[in-house]
């Protein structure tokens, strides 16, 4: 059959342009359909991953290590020793992009007017920057400068509730490692914006400042890490579990199950919508192909009369559809890439910020498709169109030549 391709391909291409208006309309429909599928997929990807990344890029990372029992009782009594040589080697593996130690304990923060419960997080600002977007979310003042920074960075909303502001001192109280109630007065150096629940919950200070306050020595509450390629996360978690068998090593799906559920739901939702769009396109294409084949019954009869086998007729009709839709898909893909290009740095939803915040979305969406996704969606449309052409193709091939030529 392939020896006939050099004959059928140019013949198919020329046949397409026998009715330029219909071909152009079909091309536009396929191109716009492909464009909308790709843009829709990119936006939904952005919404889904944006919501997820808001959480992961705040504190969670792709996974965390804790002392056994910490996740049930995140107190200072479930701290862990600094990573030993084996764990350090595992954390420095190429698959891990960044990692950091933190102290994270329940605390009380008190201003001159009010007292609120909060979570005190001691961070290493340098390594934190590779894992968390929080340093970029400081909207007033500054982020912490080092592990010994004695300043406090708190959420904008918490500052409002405490009726305090940058430059004021607050008292932080938490249970120390030896069981007594530790308290320390620290100055607010920065306020961050990250959505109300997070703004109300977390108060940050330098890692060593927190350790010193709580009498933890070199111990910490958690190690958070990010992987270079999320496909490798399972393997990375397994390796870390081997390297630190006494610690809890959990991927983000376990640490933030609601986020994982929302992301999974989002992906299924996107898939269902795309399926509906694909089916609608296929129905339109079957209709167009049936019309085109019906108009050319006489010609297909002639081709059979000349000795072309029925399967070659099928091949010709399918090839014409493949050429037509392939061109449309290519045009749609180019248009989609062009449409997405201006948003490479993100689509600022500042005007929708309150709504986005409620939805747990980042203010900046990053609509993007990987080459694999783009090719896969294009291929699905193309294959659907080819499959849609089979029906009219078979009907063309099954007609008796005499009957077809008399039409």
């Amino acid at each position: 059959m392939k020896e006939l391709l050099p004959l059928l391909l140019p013949l198919g291409w020329r046949n397409l342009w026998r009715n330029p208006r219909r071909t152009l309309i079909t091309l536009v429909v396929v191109a716009v359909g492909t464009w909308s599928v790709l843009i829709f997929a990119a936006l939904f990807n952005a919404l889904t991953t944006g919501s997820r990344d808001t959480t992961l890029r705040f504190l969670t990372g792709h996974g965390q290590l804790h002392a056994a029992g910490y996740l049930d009782d995140p107190s200072v009594s479930h701290s862990m020793a600094p990573p030993d040589a084996a764990l350090r080697r595992a954390l420095l593996a190429p698959a891990i992009a960044a990692w950091t130690e933190r102290v994270r304990v329940p605390a009380v923060v008190q201003s001159e007017y009010r007292t609120r419960s909060a979570t005190l997080v001691g961070v290493a600002p340098q390594s934190e920057r590779a894992l968390s977007d929080l340093p970029k979310e400081v909207i007033e003042g500054r982020y912490l400068s080092g592990v010994s920074d004695p300043g406090v960075v708190m959420g904008r909303d918490l500052a409002v509730r405490l009726k305090t502001r940058i430059g004021k001192r607050v008292i932080l109280m938490a249970q120390a490692a030896d069981g007594h109630l530790a308290e320390v007065g620290l100055t607010i150096v920065g306020l961050y914006a990250a959505g109300k629940p997070a703004e109300d919950e977390f108060v940050f200070t330098g890692l060593d400042t927190a350790r010193s306050m709580l009498g933890l020595g070199a111990r910490s509450s958690e190690i958070s890490f990010a992987v270079r390629d999320e496909a490798a996360l399972t393997a990375v978690v397994a390796e870390l579990r081997r390297a630190a068998p006494t610690l809890d090593v959990e991927p983000w799906m376990e640490l933030a199950p609601l986020v994982y559920t929302i992301e999974t739901f989002g992906r299924y939702y996107t898939a269902v919508w795309l399926l509906i769009m694909f089916i609608l396109m296929a129905i339109g294409l079957v209709n167009t192909q049936l019309m085109a084949v019906f108009e050319r019954q006489r010609e297909f009869g002639l081709l059979q009369a000349l000795g072309m086998r029925p399967r070659h007729i099928v091949l010709q009709v399918v090839l014409e559809s493949a050429l037509l839709v392939g061109t449309g898909v290519l045009a749609g893909a180019v248009l989609a890439v062009a449409a997405l290009a201006p948003f490479r740095r993100g689509l600022d939803l500042g005007f929708l910020a309150p709504g986005a915040e409620i939805m747990g979305e980042s203010r900046i969406l990053h609509p993007a498709l990987t080459a694999v996704e783009g090719l896969a969606y294009g291929a699905i449309i193309w294959l659907l169109a080819v499959a849609a052409a089979l029906w009219p193709a078979l009907s063309a091939a099954q007609a008796r030549p005499a009957a077809a030529m008399s039409r």
Partner: protein, 234 residues
């Protein structure tokens, strides 16, 4: 003369609603190899239907047809297509060229289906177009050829694979007398030169005048079958 086309009690009926319309009523016919025969009769007499069932474009509802000794009744669509490709050339009343192909490509098309190498295809297609007097017009598409020229391309295409049989259905019906005369002479010459069997359904008395065998049909039956000159050499 050995028979290359044999029809044995061939019947073809069409269903039109609850009615059954007989188009062929028990045709018995044998056409010898190398014959130049015409098939005449009024419209609706069954000429085109008979050509269609002989060429495997339609299936008889009764009887059997043998082409070169092989019964075609049990052949499937692909086998019939192969039979047509290798043994039967068609010339239709309306020129039936592929509109998006040039004259040369139309002739070459059928040679491609045969799987001939490119050089041989082109040489044979050019030679056939030369034979039918269309040298210099190879690159023209059908829309830029006159009716007579298109019908010559159709003849060239039918003859290019060197078939054993050419079935022509009213080949001169759309031609003026000049072109019709030239086409008749061309077919006669090719018949004489290559021994190809011609069976031509026609009303045209000029074509009938050149036939060596003349068959007439009425209401799906053969009513006259006469040899008007000596048989051609096999």
């Amino acid at each position: 003369m050995t028979a290359i086309i044999e029809c044995e009690a061939v019947e073809r009926t069409y269903a039109q609603g609850s009615l059954t319309v007989p188009a062929l009523r028990g045709i018995d016919l044998a056409i010898g190899r190398g014959d130049f025969a015409t098939l005449a009769g009024p419209s609706g007499s069954g000429k085109t239907t008979l050509l269609s069932v002989i060429g495997g474009l339609d299936r008889p509802t009764g009887g059997e047809i043998l082409i070169d000794g092989s019964p075609i009744g049990a052949m499937d669509s692909a086998q019939l297509a192969a039979l047509r490709l290798h043994k039967i050339g068609f010339v239709f009343q309306s020129y039936s060229l592929i509109p998006v192909l040039s004259a040369l490509e139309n002739v070459e098309f059928i040679l491609r289906l045969l799987g001939l190498p490119r050089a041989e295809r082109l040489a044979r297609a050019r030679a056939m177009l030369h034979e039918v007097g269309l040298s210099g017009l190879e690159d023209r598409r059908p829309a830029r050829l006159s009716g007579g020229q298109q019908q010559r391309v159709a003849v060239a295409r039918a003859l290019a694979p060197r078939p054993a049989i050419v079935l022509a259905d009213e080949p001169t019906a759309n031609l003026d007398s000049g072109n019709a005369g030239e086409l008749i002479k061309l077919m006669e010459r090719l018949n004489a030169a290559s021994g190809i069997t011609f069976l031509i359904a026609t009303h045209d008395t000029r074509v009938i005048a050149h036939a060596r065998r003349h068959i007439e049909m009425t209401d799906g039956r053969i009513t006259l079958d006469e040899r008007v000159s000596g048989p051609a050499a096999a």
